[in-house]
Amino acid sequence: MLHIVACIKQVPDTKIIKMNPKTNTMDRRTAPAILNPYDAHAVEEAVRLRERYGGTVSVVTMGPPPAVKAIKKCIEIGADEGYLITDRRFAGADTLATSYALTKAIEKISQMNPVDLVICGKMTIDGDTGQVGPGIARRLDIPPLTSVNKVVEVNREEGYAVVHRKLEDGFEVVRSSLPCLLSVEKTINEVPYSPFPNMLKAAQYQPHIWSVDDLEDVDIKQLGLKGSPTIVSKVWAPPKPEAGEILEGNPREQVEQLLSVLLEKKELFSSKEGV
């Protein structure tokens, strides 16, 4: 029976969010909080593996109390249990401190039921770093497999997993020992419309909520802002794309104009060395 832990995060919907033009930071009040879209695929993959091999899917997140909502969303997808670690002392964490805190939570979950597989989304849409997954793997001292596009097999008895990793021009097949950590691409699966019994369970589900004191062997200096060496020196909104050029005239004239533009920019299309 597999025990899979999916790491998730509640993020502001960056499709909607507005930037504060004065401070150049995200105005989080302007966007609803959602489950990080990549993480939905991670949970879905965990649920599919449970359906294939049997076992348990736990989700874990670090965040403020409203992050319960994101855990409930994972229960809708089909997760069995949810753990929220929430504490003022976690606040202001960068990817290093976040992976430390999540590792401590996974260690505690593993004490209750040994973990075979940790699954993360490729990255969060508010941070875009993709560092937390590998960071957890390093701390747990298990192999990290990033850009996973397909899980071919998980064999708990013999202690290995086989996955496809997405490359620029194809994929590679990798076999790893268990336990290991996968960070998955969005293309790994499609998250279906949740069945009603899951909705009913999620509506009534209360996740396990832990503070720093509930975790064991925690080095407070490695948590939150204190444990975060990352310095954000500047944040700015990407410039709006400039309006395109519209060709005018009859079709023949337009084609001629287009050809001259293409010839002018031909170096864009010539193959570069090493590619």
């Binding site: 279906p192 949740s194 069945p195 009603f196 009913l200 509506a203």
Partner: protein, 431 residues
């Protein structure tokens, strides 16, 4: 089969939430289903919440509910193209506990209200559409949702699925509504600085004003407009019978633009920024359009049962009261272990005997009447404006002369007779 509930309430608007709240409080196992992302996400109303009916459910709710402003002033504006006759009342007694009514933004308020029902023990499931009622041997025994494994069973299903209630319709409780039985309301929430609102509407902090607009606001089509003050936004909208829009070939958003640019309204909203745009149908057929509201294992409440008092812009309070009565009827039925139409009919009887039923009957002819005689909106409101203009314009004419002129402008003897008859008829319909 998934677990069985005592009651399934379909739709988390004021009616459905009230019903679920009371049921859960009464110890019933209740499931509240909402198609939107959260309760309130798809709900629309002008924005006045009446204190009394809400307090019948949650006493002193105003101490914690997300409300906008207590209304201390109500104005009624009878508009012509470039003028308006305004009457109103402002009273400080409305500005303190227990208040009279409040402006609210539904997206916030309904969410809060639904949370209260969940605190009582109701199970709320969002983002789920009910496709149909499951009927066995002529009895409603549950609902089928659009989700996989989506059949859920209960002793009673309460339909609070709003104005179009396709569920009640598919049970044969009512026919599809005709264009003269529903109004289409279009509204916008306009963001405006709090201080600016208070200056423009002559308000202090935590005081609100509602203005109801008649006449040219709807270009003479039967309907009304409104302009309400929220904390740091304004709600402005127009609602007219669907048949009126069709007849005058006006698109609803054109009408809203027209009101926003009306010289009597423009100064209030100048410099504001559009925040939300909403449109919704309002059931205005009244008592005569009401279909069946009780069946074996099923009750219909709120807009779904056409419970709206169009003349007094009251809908949500009727909805909440109907939800409360329905819950009490279901709890009685649960005690008796009998969920037949006969047993559940205590809901309908109580509704009709109380203020809801009495008001519905009292105003049963109003929409039809004003719809049948367009002169009220098309002719008489401009007439009042003209008379007021003549009376108050100082031009050296004696007041006696002015009155004579106004009297003369009302038309020939025959026309005056018609006017008098119309006024009497209108009075009879409303009073």
């Amino acid at each position: 089969m998934s677990e069985k509930f005592d009651c399934i309430v379909v739709g988390a608007g004021p009616a459905g939430i009230s019903c679920a709240y009371e049921l859960a409080k009464g110890g019933a196992k209740v499931l509240l289903l909402e198609r939107g992302e959260y309760p309130g996400s798809k709900n629309v109303m002008g924005g006045v919440l009446y204190r009394k009916m809400m307090e019948d459910i949650i006493p002193e709710f105003y101490k914690e509910a997300p409300l906008e402003r207590p209304v201390v002033e109500q104005r009624f504006m009878m508009m012509d193209k470039e003028s308006a006759v305004t009457v109103g009342y402002k009273g400080m007694e409305w500005g303190k506990e227990p208040y009279n009514n409040f402006t609210v933004l539904r997206a916030k308020f309904d969410q809060w209200f639904a949370e209260k029902a969940v605190e009582q023990g109701a199970v709320l499931v969002n983002e789920t559409v009910v496709l149909e009622c499951i009927v066995e041997d002529g009895k409603v025994v549950g609902v089928r949702t659009d989700r996989p494994n989506g059949e859920i069973y209960a002793d009673v299903v309460v339909l609070a699925d709003g104005v179009n209630s396709l569920l009640a319709q598919s049970l044969g409780f009512h026919k599809e509504y005709k264009p003269d039985e529903v109004a289409l309301a279009t509204m916008e929430v306009l963001k405006l600085d709090k201080k600016v609102i208070e200056d423009r509407f002559n308000l202090e902090e935590n005081q609100g004003c509602t203005i109801e607009l008649f006449g040219d606001a709807t270009k003479g089509i039967l309907g009304t407009g409104f302009l309400y003050t929220n904390k740091d936004s304004l709600s402005i909208g127009v609602g007219t019978l669907l048949s009126g829009l069709i007849k005058h070939k006006i698109k609803p958003y054109e009408l809203l633009e027209y009101v926003k640019n009306h010289p009597m309204i423009r100064p209030y909203i100048q410099g504001s920024e559009s925040q939300e745009y909403l449109a919704h149908l309002i059931p205005e057929g009244g008592f005569k359009s009401m279909g069946r509201i009780v069946g074996d294992g099923v009750i219909v409440i709120g807009d779904a049962s056409q419970l709206v008092n169009a003349i007094h812009r009251e809908g949500s309070n009727l909805a909440m009261t109907s939800g409360r009565y329905a819950a009490e009827a279901v709890l009685l039925a649960k005690q008796a272990g009998d969920f037949s139409e006969k047993m559940l009919d205590s809901y309908r009887m109580r509704l009709m005997a109380g203020f809801v039923g009495q008001d519905m009957q009292k105003y049963k002819d109003s929409t039809h009447h004003f719809n049948k005689f367009p002169q009220y909106f098309e002719d008489y409101i401009p007439m009042v404006n003209k008379a007021a203009s003549q009376m108050f314009t100082v031009d050296g004419t004696s007041k006696w002369e002015k009155q004579k002129k106004i009297w003369k402008d009302l038309g020939t003897g025959k026309e005056k007779m018609k006017l008098a008859r119309d006024m009497y008829r209108a009075w009879k319909v409303i009073k």
